[in-house]
Symmetry: C2
């Protein structure tokens, strides 16, 4: 038997105990465990228990503050900053969420820069609660340089995910969350772990030669999706989650990081908008639903996030199968 | 001689006279002529005089109000809507620009939904003044369905450009402006006009088969850049420039449009942020400049917009060469 069957609650509990055992207080452990369990439940193993080793390494090395007490500061009527107190991102996000929602509901649009955090999670887990509160939401974060700017030769950008969420009343929101690289680094790590090859055009080895070997690509670099257009998106993410908010660019994060396997210190940018205050409070929802209907009416096309929500329903009934090797590594932790 | 040499002022004057001759008042003619001249000066012929025929057609058919008097309405502390009064977009944008800048400077972030406009221009011409005022700015707009959703078979999205601008003090701002399709429709029109083939993977013919013939692709459909990721961006643009602000989706715009060659009625979405109010008023500029230096230090990599600014300097000294066939068509108008 190469797999272990676990419920979402069991996953959360395993993750929480492990993090508490390595120096997180209950609030921090709980916030991280929640998003790990959510990732596993949504079928995104690359952001699930597999990351626990990195979280633990970052606590062990002392670069992350497991007792972090994030706090907010109102920088302008529609800008609320969260200082993460050098902790993992999830508690900082929890701290900033309601202030962001309130500011967007009042002002129509509001921004939530997050600084002094260590980010290791999937953005969709972070924006879903904001979209579920009835807001249109965007978020992005940078990392360490692993993506080559279009036309260039050296990694400069992080995989720099950009996520967008749209509220759908009592249904789960429409959310996409996509790395600015052709594939996310987590997927390359997963391919390496499982011994799969990558598609051509995903990355290059340490010498800059195209490679489909995930181990070689992890030593080399990833390419931006869609050539110079994805590269522009990656650059925008550096500016929003770095320069704009007073946090590190990916190149700066890398220099400062101790490379213990955990996330570097960095920033995150989020903004939210209240569709009720954009001039069509009666019609916005129906019009969006019409668009979604047009998409799913096409054979082969699908709404972003649909697969995750299917996984979530399945996981809530039957739990999740975790690979035995990942599970054993966690028991060792 | 297949080309005509014109100064930027001459281009503007030709465009203005032509538009006034077809029913625009001075304010509307001037606003459109300005962005046509700017496109030509920046080396973007597909958005220059070549579009004058479409503008004129839209005036002749009566679908566009050449005497439009756009007006703003404050929908929320940080949301100002412009109603374009069924005119071309440029005057509406002029009308909303300063209120957007003021709201962003005060609130930190602000949004400018534009409704009841006919949009036919390049977004970079529209966001540059906002970025030059010291703000970080995003904009997007939809069109008529010409792009197939990833995995699907029928056009649903417009080319749906998304643009981003970043202020650089007294230097021209960094701006990218990119269609959600692999190439912009204007480029396909230009290739058709000039008899060039398209690259593979750009579009399909009316039967859905891959084609490199621009005439066939204009009858068929374009593909989104970067597969499902560009397709998600295109969908986001539909939601922001359509559903969120109470304006048409591309599919709705198409149904309502008389297909006279001019732009359909639609919406545009813009937001702006004041980097001075995001927590690092002292450092944001230097950090962004560091990123830009890292990009241009790589052989082959370049900053988006650099080519345009080179063209602009060249055009301000030597004017612009316009193809004789385009020029003759304008004289006929």
């Amino acid at each position: 038997m190469n797999e272990v069957q676990l419920t979402i609650d069991e996953i959360k509990s395993i993750a929480r105990d492990c993090l508490e055992g390595h120096g997180c207080n209950a609030a921090n452990a709980d916030a991280v465990a929640e998003i790990i369990a959510m990732a596993e439940g949504d079928g995104c193993h690359s952001h699930g228990l597999m990351r626990l080793g990195g979280y633990v390494a970052a606590l062990k090395s002392g670069k992350v503050n497991g007792l972090a007490e994030p706090f907010t500061q109102q920088l302008a009527p529609a800008v609320i900053r969260v200082n993460g107190d050098s902790g993992f991102a999830p508690l900082a996000l929890k701290c900033g969420r309601q202030p962001l929602i309130d500011a967007a509901k009042t002002n129509g649009i509001a921004a939530l820069p997050l600084v002094n955090i260590h980010h290791f999670a999937a953005l969709w887990t972070e924006i879903e609660p904001v979209a579920s509160a009835g807001l249109c939401v965007m978020a992005c974060t940078s990392y360490k340089p692993v993506v080559i700017p279009a036309g260039g030769s050296k990694p400069l950008y992080g995989t720099n995910p950009f996520a967008f969420g749209w509220p759908r009343g009592s249904s789960p929101p429409m959310i996409f969350d996509q790395a600015s690289s052709v594939v996310a680094r987590g997927e390359v790590m997963l391919a390496a772990r499982e011994g799969h090859s990558l598609a051509a055009g995903v990355g290059v080895d340490a010498d800059g030669n195209p490679s489909t070997d995930p181990d070689e690509v992890l030593k080399g670099a990833l390419l931006a999706f869609g050539g110079h257009k994805g590269s522009s998106i990656a650059m925008m993410v550096e500016l929003l989650a770095g320069a704009l908010i007073g946090e590190s660019l990916s190149v700066e994060a890398a220099v400062r990081d101790n490379n213990d396997g955990g996330p570097p210190q960095g920033g995150e940018f989020m903004l939210a908008m209240n569709p009720e205050l954009f001039g069509d409070a009666q019609g916005w929802n129906a019009r969006a639903e019409r668009l979604f209907e047009e998409i799913v009416a096409q054979d082969g096309a699908r709404l972003p996030g649909d697969r995750r929500y299917r996984c979530r329903r399945e996981a809530s009934e039957n739990g999740v199968r975790i690979s035995r090797s990942v599970y054993n590594k966690i028991l060792e932790l």
